[in-house]
Symmetry: C2
Subunit: 226 residues, 2 copies
């Protein structure tokens, strides 16, 4: 499938790398190609800069948000939550129309330090805001509740015996996304319902962040035991 991954950070790299490895035709979208390629320092989490990551993956192209979106059949929102709407506006509504968007972003607000709070929650969600801003997109919220490494290779933890969630209004879009998640190795994929259920998964972030602190690792995940 021709896939655009919007965002060049840890999540974008994990998704783009894994999708390319699985044989998809992947373009990473960024706001400013020159600025992305000019960064030579690791990010705040110690991850290598995009240029170093990309050098090892010649099959993955880098393009503007608009160019990446234009050619894609399916898009992945791996931008920071606070710039997700702007990134999609830059991609252009015409380039999004009728396509599936896998939305991984969380509405984290770091303006008051760590742990971050959520800039939208409870009566609304980032997933819903994106769906409302781009009604012709088929938004499927997923993968926002676990660390990037486990999003794409869940078998790294407990043989993959943990859960992911999907939220979205379009049943066929969710079916396509579930297929991609299964190709990553996910075996327990729970369909929570329409895009309003993204409120629930985005509100998992506060306990996720506290668990990362208590367990001293991001390599954990929720399993829904039933």
């Amino acid at each position: 499938m021709k896939i655009a991954v919007l965002g060049t950070g840890m999540v974008g790299q994990a998704l783009a790398g894994r999708l390319a490895e699985l044989g998809h035709d992947v373009t990473v979208g960024t706001r400013d190609i020159a600025a992305t390629m000019a960064r030579t320092e690791p990010d705040g989490m110690g991850n290598p800069p995009y240029s170093a990551w990309a050098a090892a993956r010649p099959a993955v192209r880098l393009a503007t948000f608009a160019e990446a979106a234009e050619g894609a059949e399916l898009l992945v929102n791996a931008t920071s939550g606070d710039v997700s709407i702007a990134a999609l506006e830059a991609a252009g509504a015409d380039n999004l129309a009728g396509k599936i968007l896998i939305d991984i972003a969380n509405p984290l607000d770091f303006s008051r330090g760590f742990p971050p709070t959520l800039f939208v929650k409870d009566t609304d969600s980032l997933g819903e805001q994106i769906q409302a801003a781009f009604p012709q997109l088929k938004v499927v919220k997923t993968l926002n509740t676990l660390t990037a490494a486990l999003m794409v290779i869940p078998a790294q933890l407990a043989g993959g015996e943990h859960s992911v969630f999907v939220s979205g209004n379009d049943a066929d879009a969710k079916k396509t996304v579930v297929g991609l998640l299964e190709s990553f190795g996910h075996t327990d994929i729970i369909d929570l319902g329409d895009i309003t259920t993204a409120r629930g998964t985005e509100m998992l972030l506060p306990v996720w962040l506290r668990l990362m602190g208590a367990l001293n690792t991001p390599m954990f995940n929720f399993k829904i035991v039933r």
Copy 2:
């Protein structure tokens, strides 16, 4: 131990019954004894009225919030979140001073229908509000993330292979509470840190409610796989 369980609903009944069964001296506290005993209809969830439940458990006494709290060494807040502060005020600050409070309440707001929203979240929590209102209480937030039946007999689901969380400022109080949780059969008890971490567990409720809808049962729980 002499324990006061504040609240006569499903959660109060589950805790009081299990604690009595384990040999504790349990008094259930209510706002109005006559009104509690006069109810003969099941509650909105189809649970039997308190009087029917109590008739089968003669060892469990019913008293006012103040009387129950006065004699207790440890208290359980099993009231609805919206009346928890009022219930503790009725119990009387003098009757609470220096004691442990296991806070199970969630800040659910049903005023806009189902699913409920949270009346406090993200930058504050009900657990913190209770701790702030009653600084001489040792508040330990726990058990608010699973259904009442599993709170007290976790082995009913997957042999107990699922997680509970504790949040609180007092290490000794948390140790006492962990001991009680272990006596119920909990084996994976995660100390998230101080009472501010209750923000995380209270914010699990929206996804819990959506999961109950998607799975069509409340008999599930989160396991933190790591």
